[in-house]
């Protein structure tokens, strides 16, 4: 009996590790390829490890194209992402609080509106949005990428609402009896309590914005404004690329912030997804 259990456990770990390894292998391959000599990247696919470690790939890649380096692209991405995430989380928390804890006329109607926005494909909105931003002279600035994020996102509003619903209403009432207004109640009492939901929203907001390709493709059209995603796409274009080592080096560099954040925050992510059924 014990022996059967043991062999069962061994089998479990063997199967899970094998599947996991196959899944992660492309990423591992890309990582090691970024240290191979450029001419050997595609001809030595069956050797995982580079014969000679070529750290120069990162320097070559970093110099970017058209006189603009990846320092600029990363800076742009960081600005766009940070500004978006702050606005996104703040507005989502405010809206979630408003919808759950304040009874006002029109609440039901706008709540339904918010739910519907989750179902509307972005393609429906993209052309008029472009016309609007073009009319505002916002094209080739970061504004089309950041300003809409200051309205929050339905997914996060919904996630935070679920979290607020789990906080007893007595708490609000007690605070109000003590003379605490709704605004202060929100900033002083509610915000600290919903931190886990805010963290989950912030993390996903970061991923989606960092990876966002469509927005940068549409609205940014000069290299000094490019974010990492669009810069990487152009850098890796099959017609222009010849330095495969540098190409993979920049791919790895662009994933690094995401991977680091993921490793530090995976608990929030795993719990957050399990809680809400969020898509990602």
């Amino acid at each position: 009996m014990i022996r059967k259990k043991l062999s069962n456990t061994v089998l479990f770990h063997a199967v899970v590790c094998a599947i996991g390894f196959v899944m992660i292998y492309p990423l591992i391959w890309m990582f090691f390829s970024s240290f191979k000599e450029s001419s050997l990247v595609l001809s030595t696919v069956d050797h995982l490890f580079p014969e000679k470690w070529e750290f120069g790939n990162y320097l070559n890649g970093w110099s970017g194209f058209g006189g603009t380096t990846f320092t600029t692209f990363f800076q742009n991405s960081v600005i766009v992402t940070v500004v978006s995430v702050i606005g996104n989380v703040l507005a989502s928390a405010m809206a979630a609080y408003g919808f759950t804890r304040i009874r006002f006329r029109g609440r039901g109607f706008f709540f339904i509106c918010m739910l519907i926005t989750m179902m509307v494909p972005s393609q429906v909105l993209v052309v008029p949005q472009y016309i609007i931003f073009n009319g505002l002279n916002w094209v080739n600035t970061f504004l089309p990428l950041t300003v809409p994020e200051w309205g929050g996102r339905a997914f996060f509003i919904f996630l935070i609402m679920q979290f607020i619903a789990g906080i007893p209403k007595d708490l609000d009432e007690a605070a109000e009896i003590d003379g605490c207004g709704k605004v202060r109640l929100f900033t002083r009492v509610m915000m600290p309590l919903i931190k886990p939901a805010l963290a989950t929203s912030a993390i996903f907001s970061f991923y989606w914005k960092w990876d966002d390709f469509m927005g940068s493709l549409l609205y940014l059209n000069s290299p000094e404004k490019y974010t990492v995603s669009i810069a990487l796409k152009l850098f890796c274009d099959p017609t222009s690329v010849s330095d495969y080592g540098a190409m993979f080096a920049m791919c790895v560099a662009s994933l690094l912030p995401v991977i680091v954040l993921f490793l530090f925050t995976q608990k929030y992510i795993v719990d957050g997804i399990a809680m809400s059924g969020l898509k990602a």
């Binding site: 595609l42 990492v228 990487l232 795993v270 997804i273 059924g277």
Partner: protein
């Protein structure tokens, strides 16, 4: 009277809190939504004023535009293969991982990693070189003793499959959701089933699958909506080729709107996409009563969906 002024105060406060969302909703969602509908009946290239042309865009799409039909076919094929397979894989892995072991959290992280990275440009580029002629996938096949030197991404029969595989690869989030769903199924059900002589297959079809069906259903809807909108992967890996075999709907829509500047035409395409997504969502919802199973039905035979839904949270 005090009550009335309280109400008014609350309304003001309410709009204060939802204000940022409301402004952005009106400006960047509601207005574009209406404008898009209007533009779909016009000819518009951003230079001149929109010219009203009635249903011409729609008529042309269905009668003269071969690429429209091609892209529709490609997208259907993509969605109806990749999403069920993704969910199937997610369920399979979730069931394997559903056991008490200290290593499970580590495995969860490894399996979830591709989903976190999957939408990025870097992974699409990586995928492209993994499935090229001299890529990792071929070297893997050769290692297994299957000689193969086709380029998966530029062969017209396999190109779409390489993108489908990229989507299946990102099965992380449904897996996590299934895993937490599996954890909520009381062990006593399985124990009772074993006492009654049920084998693993029967346990799966009679206990696991019915009890997970609400979660599967929710994921099916959300993932399908996402699947219809696939864009950047198709653009970066194959750019619609070879021979338009991977020209997904969103990519064709993008080209019409922003490469040829036929913006009215693009809007008409977007509205057709909206109708398609709405149709399939409604279909899944409608059919759900036949196969979505809420736990209390098991005991009192009556469907009490509200309660079942509440439990799911």
């Amino acid at each position: 009277m005090a009550n009335k002024s309280q109400m008014r105060k609350n309304t003001l406060l309410g709009y204060l809190f939802i204000g940022p969302w409301l402004i952005c909703f009106l400006a960047f969602t509601a207005l574009p939504f209406a404008a898009s509908f209007f533009l779909s009946f016009t000819e518009y290239n951003m230079l001149s004023v929109p010219k009203f042309i009635g249903f011409s865009n729609y008529i042309r799409l269905f009668t003269q535009d071969n690429l429209f039909m091609t892209s529709l076919g490609v997208t259907f094929k993509f969605v109806f293969i990749s999403i069920p397979l993704r969910l199937l894989f997610a369920l399979m892995v979730a069931m394997i991982l559903n056991r008490d072991s200290k290593a499970v959290p580590i495995y969860r992280v490894i399996y979830y990693l591709p989903s976190i990275l999957g939408g990025s440009v870097a992974v699409s580029v990586m995928w492209k070189y993994c499935f090229s002629k001299t890529g990792v996938f071929n070297s893997f096949l050769n290692m297994l003793g299957i000689p193969c030197n086709i380029s998966w991404i530029s062969n017209k029969d396999t190109a779409l499959w390489s993108i489908i595989l990229l989507f299946i690869w990102q099965f992380g989030s449904p897996m996590l959701i299934f895993l937490s769903g599996l954890k909520q199924i009381p062990r006593s059900y399985y124990e009772a089933a074993v006492v009654d002589g049920a084998g693993p297959v029967k346990k799966f079809f009679r206990i696991t699958l019915p009890l997970l069906s609400p979660i599967i259903f929710f994921n099916l809807v959300m993932q399908m909506i996402g699947g219809f909108m696939v864009f950047s992967q198709a653009m970066i890996i194959t750019d619609g080729g070879p021979m338009n075999k991977t020209l997904v709907y969103a990519l064709y829509l993008y080209r019409q709107s922003f490469a040829y500047y036929k913006m009215g035409y693009g809007c008409a395409m977007a509205w057709i996409l909206l109708v398609i997504i709405g149709f399939f969502t409604a279909l899944v919802f409608k059919s759900s009563s036949a196969w979505v199973f809420y736990e209390n039905e098991m005991f009192d035979g009556k469907s009490n969906k509200r309660k079942g839904r509440a439990r799911r949270k």
